[in-house]
Amino acid sequence: MDILQKFFDTTGYANLTSGNAIMMMIGIVFIALAIIKDYEPLLLVPIGFGIVVGNIPPVAGMHLSVYDEGSVLQYIYFGVSQGIFPPLIFLGIGAMTDFSTMLSNPKLILLGAAAQVGVFLTFLGALFLGFAPAQAGAIGIIGGADGPTAIFLASKLAPGLLGAIAIAAYSYMALVPVIQPPIMRLLTSRKERLIRMAPLREVSQREKIIFPIVAFLICAMIAPGAIVLIGMLFFGNLLKESCVTERLAQTARTAMIDIVTVLLGFSVGASTQAQMFLQAESLQIFALGATAFAIATAGGVLFAKLMNLFLKEKINPLIGAAGVSAVPDSARVVQMVGLEEDPDNHLLMHAMAPNVAGVLGSAVAAGVLWAVLTAK
């Protein structure tokens, strides 16, 4: 009987807390959203299942969780906690990104810059709520709408908040089609939404090859903290555009990014143990994250309207919302909202320019925040 009692005391049933049960329900909701609603399934399924796994109650003396020295989950989580996985994901993103829409209309890059206002205003909001500067910077980067960047910066500035920040960032990225359209309609008139943009020019292969090299030099010299993320992004893009390393580019944008996505999503989910995650701080982070997305969307749209005051060839201000670097979801949202007004006005390719510029902008913002806030 004693042996049975001892065994029962080590089971999850004996040690399950209400917090663990709540987190498991959240994980199952994520999985359901991914499968039923098709909300970012490549992220939400690994994260959701990781949450379920990570909230099986720990057993004393057995190294099982992400936080136990020597456990398998800790070894997998090493890639997250040390900021290794996000640059590898950026390598794959670079190898699948086509910058030609941005190259054909360079002024749209400024919309990607404008959307980063969400990062810095959220940084101020987090400070206002009492977070330390480094924590506030890690929370602010949620506004960049870039999961790998958010995880990378959180691992450097606020490792204790990494789980909450990652879950907030990926959750809101999945909700981009819900969050953005009302803001876009609120800030634009029907006449503005009907603006048609000029066709994109042809971009030569030489431009596509030279761009990643020079753009990396510009960004890295200005914000050295962004070297890793921007460097891998442009390295991946060069592999793609050089046309002599197609095998490497193909591997980077398929097998490699899929492997890293699985490991990253699963281990981030497993890190959200109830004891660490269900704190007042996490709720504040979620509230700030939603604010960050809203401000970033508004920032891009309003900056497009500001640019139109000075441009002869007007920009459809809807594409400013694509400065939020949730590639390609926010560009698809712009396309959808534009088509509602005019079924023949296809804005997708125009929106891809600020969309990929937003990736650069959020990576530069992360580099700046890391450099400035590390010493504080």
Binding site: D98, M102, L103, P106, K107, I109, L110, G112, A113, Q116, V117, V119, F120, L121, F123, L124, L127, F128, L129, G130, P133, A136, S204, Q205, R206, E207, K208, I210, F211, V214, A215, I218, C219, I222, A223, K240, E241, C243, V244, E246, A280, A357, L360, G361, V364, A365, V368, L369, V372, L373, K376
Partner: protein, 108 residues
Amino acid sequence: MFFLVWRGSEWVSTMFDNISERLAYVADKDGVWTAITGMSIVFTALILISVFIAVLPRILKFLAPYLPEETSHHHHAPAPQTSSDDTAVAAGIGYVLHQMKTQEPTKR
């Protein structure tokens, strides 16, 4: 539900009670200057990239006589692969067309 609303309103009122302290904290940590500096650096980097991209075609045009386009082993990057959705859509269209054709009355 009532508990959540009650705790939420407590939290909001606490926040507003301490506004001046919180604003002093933001100022003490150079929050505003950090935000302004950060946005400026982001804009500077992307403006420089934008200017470079705008000038690049002219630079390449200038260099064209000295560095002609190669026609050797380089080829254009492969066209993006169609997703399985595109294939499914094409298959669906083909099926509908086939159905329409087979249901047309035969001409005698």
